[in-house]
Symmetry: C2
Subunit: 251 residues, 2 copies
């Protein structure tokens, strides 16, 4: 039992499914699940796991755990690529904490864990789980699904160190040009809601939290959302959507 | 993005640490974390992850997620070893549900997820995390540690299908011989508490839940706990600890 594992003890894990989501890029994705409920996402099971029997009884649960791989984070190629410290955005991007005291995507084994709401299960062609509140980039490989057990896993009394509550949100406004673009789309209402929820989380890098001239772009569904930080006199920073551009042909 | 993953897309994951616990065997382990708080467990980080920097700031969190491998479950050797249905003990061992609607250990990728309490961190020789409420067999390989975020992950309102609440517990009693054995041990009090908590969860197979003559054995720490199911006239089944034997030299 005291034998220490070595790299030879590696476990070989295969995706059971792939995420399809409103987040084509990492940038802009809320930093925890449940913060952008307007985001559409599905988990599509892949062969041989796309068997409707495998999800029998799952609709009786309202919430699921997804264990997945942060596949866009650098692959750990041996100990040299491993860093014990990270800079969480919640600490302004300056203070360092241990990687195991964070939910950073840059971590050994690149494992992610998200609690999501299960909205529906479609078994007409393979298995597709409709999800709400997912914080997952399109194409994320999923390794496991487990039902959420509130009597074992809801611990509202838990202490949560440097992240004791949900992050504060920013006010967001849209330019007339952005509103006009959204009005022309069949999914305009839900896309508008998604833009408001994503920008309220302030996706800018942690070290740039004042007002500034720079225009950022965040991709949601098939559009590029261009936004800027504004500051009223003595007021808080707000984010202003300058324009919403079709991203077609740009991928 | 619509490329489907194949077995060639397997991810190679390496343990970051190994569990040392009061459960030398699978039999008797509570079926969810938090049900046997008297169980002692440590997570010992292994090189190169045994760096105290990697857990800096972690003591500010009271609860942790451990992602681990059910390494004693059969290794999935290709699709032939994969079964979409399991028989959860909560349904009496008769009804089948989908493996992804269960927390069964027999699942693709054999991934486990446990919410445990963090009691202390010892960095005097490498890194050792003292845990409470762990439901993990001695020797379990751990792949990741994440802090628990109650504002994101405590959802007391979640619906939980066929497992809506903690399993009912049985009354447990100890024979005078068992009490005498415990009285002679320095850890007698905590071992007694552990025995009561573990047996209250009724570790017997789901299809044997009446009273019966059979004597079961469950290994805890370095002892074999021998117990039997008794039934009072018209009363509920109770579990009676017949004797507590030293398991020394038997492993």
């Amino acid at each position: 039992m005291n034998d220490r594992p070595t790299p030879a003890d590696a476990f070989h894990l295969t995706p059971i499914g792939i995420i399809e989501s409103d987040f084509p890029d990492k940038f802009g994705i809320p930093r925890q699940p449940g913060l952008a409920t307007a985001a559409r996402a599905s988990l599509v099971l892949v062969p041989p796991f796309d068997d409707p029997l495998a999800v029998r009884g799952l609709t009786a649960f309202s919430h699921l755990w997804l264990t997945f791989v942060f596949h866009l984070s650098p692959e750990p190629a041996g100990p040299a690529r491993w860093s014990p410290l990270v800079r969480p955005p919640r600490l302004g991007g300056n203070a360092k904490v241990g990687v195991f005291a964070s939910r950073s995507t840059h971590r050994p084994n690149r494992l992610g864990l998200s609690l999501v709401e299960l909205v529906e299960i479609d078994t007409s062609h393979g298995v597709r789980l409709g999800l709400r509140g997912a914080d997952l980039v399109d194409g994320t490989p999923v390794l496991d699904i487990k039902p959420y057990l509130p009597w074992a896993e809801a611990r509202p009394e838990a202490r949560a160190g440097f992240a004791p509550e949900a992050p504060p949100t920013l006010a967001v406004s849209l330019s007339p040009e952005a509103e006009a673009m959204l009005a022309r789309r069949p999914d305009g209402d839900s896309l508008r809601e998604l833009i408001l929820q994503v920008l309220a989380q302030d996706p800018r890098p942690a070290y740039r939290h004042g007002a500034e001239a720079r225009i950022y772009g965040v991709r949601l569904r098939d559009v590029d959302v261009r936004f800027q930080a504004l500051q009223e006199q003595t007021g808080p920073t707000t984010l202003r959507v300058v324009e919403v551009l079709s991203a077609e042909g740009r991928t």
